[in-house]
Symmetry: C2
């Protein structure tokens, strides 16, 4: 039997070779591959749906949770959405090769940066087979080879999707190994992928906290990851009350299961007058409200919040509220409990807003806007492969540029050091 | 006895607290701390030299190599140079807080980036006590707290230098814990530092390959590192011959022991006419020349190069030369053997130069300039803490900006997601 390491070495070598050719591929060819793959999805619809049916049968046999089954399922509409996703990535500007900051230095040389692909990206994900298409498209467009490892429950769907992608990539005249799916459900391959330092430049995990924790702990390849989204809204004393109510409600109730939803509301003691309305509207929408003593005093339906609440990402219709003495206490609370994803302040006061913007150290810091805007599309990235709460390389929504790096370029006329 | 982990936890907590205050410190205060420290070095000259004398005594007893002793030694001139180094960093622009790319999005929000410190940086280095001052200054100016771990042979000098720095930082009204020296020669502390994920955001090792390999293998904190500098000069068929000779000689002989010195010269078969002169001038300067068969045919003094030569960073008056069929073979040679530090092409041909610039995937890629320019000062960074041959976060010379990251900022007027 071939060992996980042997399989990974083969995939890794193929990825590395393909990455060298992809690095130089012109934008038209990459776009052509994406467009051809989109068409292929439509042409092979029956095959993809048949593969999905096998996964769904197994899901049935294995008593998968309904929520997981919903994520796993492919239908005509979802395959069409995958195809359109590829076409949207094809329409995005190509970041590779862009030269910036080219300046003359006293020595006479010109020095600047050129944007280049990272190399080989390993993507580890669960359930949703559309990630196979989305992630591969973003890697391809940004000039990176990828090695994809989907969940075992989606193996048939992922195979069918990857087959279309590779077919189209070859048709466009590129090396089909720029997209490789780990065609095995052996868990040892995850371990082999996240330690394949010689072949893989970065790992991007997409999935639940347990998957991401395991990968972070065991990987020796750099990881771009996002653990929790414990996002805060702070309503300042000088907040426009109507705006504060609107932002707080939107940040919590627009969607509950997303990482950029608010999990804790902080309210200046001088702005508690807006709390009764916020709490009532939340309760009307079926949100469970937990709060500090001062919040509880506002409404009998408010449950006492514990220390654990401040550190919890509910991803559910639950909100914790704390009344704070001032903006400094709000910032200190965020410093202690935030997952450094996204925080927002609502205030009309210039100095307070500036202070919050400067002092809060999260991937996204907002002023008078809903945390729900922390998103690759809303930020203008066109698409995102994930949201990074790490500090190095890339923070916040990761789009095509986040999948690239820069090299220095020097243009001279025979200059030498003296 | 306090364990290494306990010591690191104490240092780590102190660093993290100090980093929060330093993140917000204004530029004047940081500059004041640097200027006061420079003066302190001059005032405490006698103490610093006395500390250094202790290190030199121990070095004598331990039979340290002369080269190491030279690196270790402090004298009035070197202390003055350290002081001036701090003043130069004080004079550099502060990268922290700079806002860029702020644009309006269709939703009405403005989205942009703000440059912020990385947090806590661990620096591990050998011998040279001036690194204590240089590294601390760059971290301080870029708003990062640092934990410094110097070589045990320099412990007295490092202590004296760190004492001056901390005194001046406190004098300037900042938290002195923004600079902490690990005041112990226990090797277990290196292990504790590079795995202190809760406190340290990035590790920067500065030293020989064995130190860096050990740290890369054992760290679970991200590492910004630079292993070898196997730099290439490629002389194209269309090279200006006079320029080619000048660049090849400068890249090899300007300084031998530096990472941006050329280690392999590649010459197009149609440009071998410039080889006799290059080889003769190298030999005249006492450089040992090794080469492929076609190079050996040029001069009897050329020794046969082995495969190992192409993969060796000599850091010495030795050069390997290979004649290649064309630019593609040169690029393939670089792809196989380069350490991805710096490569240069000498050519008058536009298309060939552009191709080299695009295809070669090193931290610095040059056209008609000596590899010796790969340097923070030459690139305009003002100072450098090292040169990264990694791909993520920062590549090539790392200056103040490389010690920072960016957060997203969003400015709104009450916008919510619909």
């Amino acid at each position: 039997m071939t060992s996980a390491i042997d399989i990974m070495n083969t995939l890794g070598k193929q990825a590395k070779i393909s990455a060298v050719s992809l690095r130089m591929a012109d934008t038209n060819k990459k776009n052509q591959a994406l467009t051809l793959a989109a068409n292929r999805f439509r042409e092979d619809m029956a095959d993809i749906l048949a593969a999905s049916a096998k996964d769904m049968d197994n899901a049935e046999k294995n008593n998968l949770e309904p929520a997981l089954k919903d994520r796993l399922a492919l239908n005509e509409e979802r395959v069409e959405a995958m195809a359109q996703g590829l076409e949207e990535v094809a329409a995005l500007p190509d970041p590779v090769g862009a030269i910036s900051d080219l300046v003359y230095r006293p020595s006479g040389i010109q020095v600047g940066h050129m944007r280049v692909p990272l190399g080989v990206i390993g993507i580890i994900y669960e359930s949703r087979p559309n990630v196979t298409a989305d992630a591969a498209a973003l890697c391809l467009k940004s000039g990176n080879a990828c090695i994809l490892r989907g969940g075992s429950e989606a193996i048939h769907s992922n195979r069918a999707v990857a087959k279309c992608l590779r077919f189209a990539i070859k048709e466009a005249g590129l090396d089909e190994n720029v997209v490789q799916l780990i065609d095995s459900t052996d868990r040892a391959l995850v371990g082999a992928l996240i330690t394949a330092k010689d072949y893989v430049d970065v790992i991007i995990p997409r999935g639940g906290p347990s998957l991401i924790k395991r990968i972070s702990a065991e990987a020796n390849v750099p990881v771009i990851k996002h653990l929790d989204g414990i996002c805060h809204v702070y309503i300042d004393k000088a907040a426009d009350r109507e705006m504060a109510v609107a932002i707080a409600l939107n940040a919590k109730t627009h969607r509950y299961g997303v990482c950029n939803a608010m999990e804790t509301l902080l309210v200046h003691q001088g702005a508690v007058d807006c709390l009764p309305e916020i709490i009532q509207q939340l309760l009307d929408k079926g949100v469970e409200v937990r709060g500090c003593a001062r919040t509880q005093a506002m409404n009998d339906a408010v449950i006492a919040a514990t220390d654990e609440d401040w550190a919890t990402e509910y991803l559910a219709p639950v909100l914790s509220i704390r009344v704070v003495d001032d903006v400094q206490q709000a910032i200190a609370h965020i410093e202690q409990y935030s997952s450094a994803h996204t925080e927002t302040i609502v205030t009309k006061d210039y100095a307070t807003g500036q202070m919050f913007l400067r002092q809060v150290d999260s991937a996204s810091v907002m002023w008078n806007a809903s945390t729900r805007f922390a998103d690759g599309f809303e930020y203008g990235l066109g698409a995102e492969i994930g949201i990074s709460t790490d500090r190095l390389h890339v923070r916040g929504p990761v789009g095509l540029e986040g999948l690239t790096t820069q090299k220095w370029i020097v243009l001279g006329n025979g200059e030498v050091r003296s």
